[in-house]
């Protein structure tokens, strides 16, 4: 990590943490007026996040993928971007910052503890599908994180009749809006993960001559995708709304967590661990 990259990285972390504290202060003390310095901090942090990514890309020469640190930068930026877009369209969703921004700086921290020097992309990563796969995977994940936040907020508010909840919960959007927003985020996240799975299959075909080989990551991403698909069918086909759907969102997210982080902990032998997939590791003993 170069000095300038490190500087912007820490600016990102501190501004995200500061922004979270600001939103928490606003939520706890129910402040609805006054200067929105937490939004300013968040915007600054997002800008610093983008600059850090740009510096890394310029030094590395390739898209930010392949290392936990690079993935952390990208997913943090996408999560904050999703929050900023939602807040612009529906200002009442600001309390969801208390889920999204901590997730963003935790991802940055997780990546930082495993930061490695810039390396050229391994041969298996040099693919036209890599950009599509990585971006849609992380965008989908960001949408699911936000959907989780809205559904948790909905469950918290749903314990009380509409209009009689405690003041802190009253600051959240209405239950109807939280339901709608949560569902829409899951739908967009599902589109993202569909593209992720399809592009991953095409990438695998190019690299290993097989679209689907039931690799643990592949299998669990399909299981997660089906879990989200069941959520969508519960809404569209079974006309379910409310608490059941909210809990289903939480369960589906936990399944997705296994896919994103759990598999690598259980078994290193997956396509996502490209140490296993060096370009020309000899496997056969062929004699002339």
């Amino acid at each position: 990590m170069t000095a300038i990259e490190q500087a912007f990285f820490w600016i990102t972390i501190f501004t995200y943490v500061g922004s979270t504290l600001g939103y928490a202060y606003r939520f706890v003390l129910q402040k609805t007026t006054g200067r929105r310095w937490e939004q300013l901090l968040l915007g600054t942090g997002f800008g610093a996040n983008l600059i850090t990514m740009a510096i890394r890309k310029a030094n590395g020469g390739h898209l930010l993928a392949g290392l936990n640190y690079e993935d952390g930068l990208l997913i943090a930026a996408l999560t904050v971007l999703v929050f900023l877009v939602c807040q612009k369209k529906m200002p009442s969703t600001w309390p969801l910052a208390l889920v999204c921004i901590p997730f963003a700086f935790l991802m940055l921290g997780f990546g930082y503890v495993s930061v490695e020097d810039i390396k050229p992309l391994r041969p298996a990563f040099i693919s036209r599908w890599m950009v599509v796969h990585a971006i849609f995977a992380l965008m989908g994940t960001a949408c699911f994180v936000f959907a989780l936040g809205t559904n948790v907020a909905y469950l918290l508010k749903n314990r009380f009749p509409e209009g009689s909840e405690p003041p802190r919960l009253a600051a959240l959007p209405s239950q109807e809006v939280l339901k709608d927003l949560g569902f829409r985020l899951v739908l967009f996240g599902f589109v993202g993960w569909t593209v992720m799975i399809i592009s991953g299959a095409f990438w695998a075909k190019d690299a290993y001559d097989i679209y689907w080989s039931w690799d643990p990551v592949e299998t669990w991403s399909l299981v997660s995708w089906l879990a989200w698909g069941i959520y969508l069918h519960f809404h569209f086909t079974f006309k379910q709304r409310g608490k059941l759907l909210a809990w289903l969102c939480i369960v589906s997210f936990l399944v997705s967590v296994v896919t994103i982080w759990g598999i690598e902990l259980i078994t290193p032998k997956t396509y996502h661990n490209l140490e296993q997939i060096m370009g020309f590791k000899l496997q056969t003993g062929v004699k002339k």
């Binding site: 050229p120 041969p123 809006v177 290993y208 001559d209 299998t219 069918h233 370009g279 003993g285 062929v286």
Partner: protein
Amino acid sequence: MPTKEFMQNKINIIKTKKYTLTLLVVLIILSLSMIYVKLDTRRYYAFLGVNLSLFLLAVSLLTCTLDRLKAFLASAGRNPGPGAGNQDRRELTLSGKDVLDKLANRLARKGFRVAISGHDLTAFKHRSGLLGSVVFHLGLVTVLAGFVVNSLWSFHGFLLIPERVISKVPEDLTIQSQGLLFKSPPSFAVALDKFSFGRQAELQPLSTLYFRDEGREKRQSVSMNYPAKFKGVEFRYKNAGYSLLIKLTTPAGTLVNDYANIATHNGKAWNDTFAISGEQQMTINFYPDFIEKDKNVYASNSRFPDNPVMKITFQEKGRELGSALVAIGQTKNIGPIKVSFQGFRYWQELTVSSDPGGYLIYLGAFMAVAGLAWRAMFILKVFTCRVEENESGESTVLYGTRTTYGQALFIAEIRDIFNGLEEEENDSY
């Protein structure tokens, strides 16, 4: 002969959610059990239970999809009707006709199809959003169809090809698996024109294949993730190594004057053992970029042939007869045997296969993504209202809103429209 009721009953079962969910659960269990027993992927797809489950799933998806398409086409052009939805009322300081006209105008600007009949107004948009679901499911069925085509008509094998040697397809091909209806790969010649490990991008192997078929010639490069394709056959990088040109001579004559493929890499060196004559063997350790780390401890700095040296050891019945380090271009004597290391070339092992169902898989994938995005972006919205004008000239609007999802957001959108009407009326005063 099955009756019409019997067939309709069976179709109804296939359309049920219980049937589809059951199939999905069966597939998940089969997949997890396959991981548990570490079954080879190709044997997994050959397993009858998996193919049957996938086929039945595709039938279910197709039936549900066509059912929805049929319902959609039957109601095409007709007003979707209010249906169950949110009902509300709003008081406006506008005459009834003004309300209807201005509402219609604003809704039309937002893309709604509006119809006014007396005191009633109906508006809807994005009815075609429902088609997105149909296209998505059809896309999944198309992908499954592509897999079926591959399982019946494709083949998978490998080809070992040294540099500057012409190989013939299918004669030199080793086929590992093939579909039930697969006959034979097409005939053509292929040669490895050039190979290198590639110093950029951390050892990305690069090779150029030369294809020839009845006067038609073509050169294509192959690297990881970028296969070559000729006459429907795909060539992918699998493995590569060195072939050393070695000459062994004795007073009695020449023992060996040929290329030896060094195929094994033990993490430290490339090595292989070859039979010479009788019970004599030679073991070759090859160091493309030779360094001596310690006394009698040798290694290679890298895989690139910057300083190629081989260590050759002769054995007979497990007993070492002699060994020597021989650099490229050198000749050394080991006992009665004169060893010359004259040069090297590369060999490459390629995965060879066909993908006749690929077009269907790509088409199905595109349909699935397009249908899903379409469904997500184009939400059916229905707005109906009746305007009642009272004696003072003001109006009461009784309205209903319905949408497939995002009801709260649609209600907010309609309220914004009403607010806009009131602001416009206030501004005109």
